[in-house]
Amino acid sequence: MKPAVILFPGSNREQDAVRALRLVAGAKPQVVWHAEHELPKGTDLVVLPGGFSYGDYLRCGAIAARANIMDAVRAHAARGGLVLGICNGFQILCEAGLLPGVLVRNARLRFVCREVLLRVERADTPFTKAYRKGELIRIPVAHGEGNFTASEANLARIEGDGRVAFRYARRDGQIDETDGPNGAINGIAGIYSEKFNVLGMMPHPENYIEPEIGPTDGRGLFESLAGALKAA
């Protein structure tokens, strides 16, 4: 496994991503500056970390999505390479056109920083094999603009193709969008690309990996990636 974590000005969770990849997946991630034009040779996973690239100027993720390195990330994704965008990384993937839709201001206008329950919608992707379908996992969120929305046509396509990765759920496993942290349509917390090799999600699995800190429900995602990339 050869992950590259992209660093933009204003990223602040890149070391959390590096730590999770190291501790859970046993990888040696390389941190790559956004101004680079190429990914390190042999990169098989690109991680766009959380943070506030360019201070969220213009729209969150908008300027980072036009960075030099993004052409290489796009080419990597087009070859079927795995890409994981967390929080600001998800916003960047949407702005870059690698995922459909957009993340807008939370419905209640509040920055939310708390734990949420996520329902794992499918367990047959490189990102979720270590989970069970329908499993409820505890993962923290920290964002002001995580309200996912998409055009009616795109939303129908996302749902029709089963491309929702995670939804904000209640304890009984039901989805209640008005109850979620940000008002995202259909309770969507994360989505896949058409070929299921790109995942964008608002919650931070990289922050729930160590029992000393709290729950470890985020480990499954990195275990899944390690398994998928070992097999490849």
């Binding site: 213009l58 729209r59 908008a62 300027i63 036009r66 702005e95 459909p100 839709g101 957009v102 807008v104 201001r105 939370n106 419905a107 209640r108 206008l109 929305t149 998409a150 055009s151 795109n154």
Partner: protein, 80 residues
Amino acid sequence: MKARVIVTLKSAVLDPQGKAIEGALRSLGVAGVQSVRQGKVFDVELAGNDRTAAEGALKDACDKLLANTVIETYKVEFAE
């Protein structure tokens, strides 16, 4: 040449910020405000005087960066 680009949310897109501003205006006692939608304004200076070229460049700028056409529309005005 000077131009102004105005980016606004599409009418079908909810605007919680506009709603909050609307509520604040109401609580300030500003009369007659029916609704508020928030947008962005960019004042752009362009080299040369070719209006057609400028329109083309600004359209390019909006489509590539200034607006997210999933949720926003834009309009360009030139200073007379």
